[in-house]
C-alpha cells in the first residue's frame, strides 16, 4: 500500500488563552496555552528563571485528522499563527515573504518557546500537515499560503506580523 494522499480536516478544537510570560532575571520569554476559564497570572520560580505574567489573548487550538487514513497530527506545539509582514531579506521568513506572489501570504506557526533554547520548534510533521490542509482548502478559491515554523525567524520579538488572537474580549470593563 502506498503512502496516504492525506485529506486533512480540523479536529479536537480547544478554546482558551495564549499566555505570555517573561523572566525577570534573564529576559527570556515563553508562552503556553491555557484552557482555564481565567488565564493564570501567578509569578513562579523555575530553575534559574523567575517567570512573570506579561499578557494573554483568547485563541483556538486544533489538530488535523486525515479522512482517508484516520491519522491525526497533534498540533499541541502550535500556540498560534501569525501573518508575516517581515521585510528583512536577511531573515528566512522575510526572504520568503519577498518571493511570494501578490496572491500568496506567509504565516508563521508559533511554538511555545520562541527563543528556542533547545532548538525545538513546531514539528516538521505539523508544518507539513498545516501546509497541506490550508493549500487544499484554499486552492479552489485561488489563494495560496505558506506556513513556516517560527525558528526560521531571525527574532520573533522583532518580527513584523499580525498574530491571529483575540485581545480584550473577556476583559472586565
Amino acid at each position: 500500500m502506498g503512502p496516504c494522499n492525506h485529506e486533512w480536516s480540523i479536529c479536537n478544537v480547544r478554546h482558551g488563552y495564549f499566555v505570555e510570560e517573561g523572566c525577570f532575571e534573564c529576559g527570556a520569554r515563553l508562552s503556553f496555552f491555557s484552557a482555564e476559564p481565567v488565564p493564570p497570572i501567578d509569578k513562579y520560580r523555575e530553575g534559574r528563571h523567575y517567570w512573570a505574567y506579561l499578557g494573554s489573548f483568547q485563541t483556538v487550538k486544533f489538530d488535523l485528522k486525515c479522512r482517508a487514513c484516520a491519522g491525526i497530527v497533534d498540533l499541541n506545539d502550535v500556540n498560534g499563527l501569525m501573518l508575516s509582514e517581515c521585510t528583512d531579506r536577511d531573515c528566512q521568513v522575510g526572504a520568503l515573504v519577498h518571493q511570494q506572489g501578490p496572491d500568496s501570504l506567509v504565516y508563521v506557526a508559533l511554538c511555545p518557546n520562541t527563543s528556542h533554547p533547545t532548538g525545538k520548534c513546531v514539528s516538521s510533521e505539523g508544518i507539513e500537515a498545516l501546509n497541506q490542509y490550508f493549500r487544499a482548502k484554499l486552492a479552489p478559491v485561488g489563494r495560496k499560503v505558506t506556513i513556516v515554523p517560527c525558528k526560521l525567524c531571525n527574532s520573533i520579538d522583532k518580527c513584523r506580523g499580525t498574530s491571529i488572537v483575540d485581545v480584550g474580549l473577556t476583559d472586565i470593563q
Binding site: 483568547q58 489563494r143 499560503v145 499580525t162 491571529i164 488572537v165
Partner: protein, 109 residues
C-alpha cells in the same frame, strides 16, 4: 449568490477592491481566532471586529466576504490587506442580528 449581488440586495457599498466570488454560507463571530477552525470556504463573515487579524484569519478560512457591523470602519492597512486577499470588505450600520435577518430573507439558512 455572488458577493456583488448580495451587496446590492442588502444595500452595502464596498470598502475595497474584491474578487466577485460565490457566497455559499454565513458565519457570525466576534472572535477572530475562531474563524480558522469554524468558518468555511466561500462564507460571508459577519463581525464587529476591524483589526488586521480579522483579514489574516478570514484568508485562512477561505472567506469570500466580510461585513463589519455597527457602522465600524477598518483602517487603511486593513483595507490594503483585504485587497491582497480579494476578500470583499463591507460596513453595515446596524448590528449583526439586523444583517442576519437580511441574509435569512435572501434564503441563507
Amino acid at each position: 449568490m455572488k458577493v456583488s449581488e448580495l451587496a446590492q440586495k442588502t444595500g452595502l457599498a464596498a470598502i475595497n477592491e474584491y474578487k466577485d466570488r460565490e457566497i455559499e454560507r454565513v458565519y457570525i463571530s466576534d472572535m477572530v481566532s475562531d474563524l480558522i477552525a469554524s468558518a468555511r470556504t466561500n462564507s460571508v463573515v459577519v463581525t464587529l471586529q476591524t483589526h488586521k487579524s480579522l483579514i489574516a484569519a478570514a484568508n485562512l478560512a477561505g472567506a469570500a466576504m466580510i461585513v463589519i457591523v455597527n457602522g465600524r470602519k477598518p483602517s487603511e492597512d486593513v483595507v490594503a490587506l483585504a485587497n491582497r486577499t480579494g476578500i470583499g470588505l463591507f460596513s453595515y450600520d446596524l448590528d449583526s442580528w439586523a444583517f442576519a435577518k437580511k441574509l435569512v430573507n435572501l434564503g441563507f439558512e
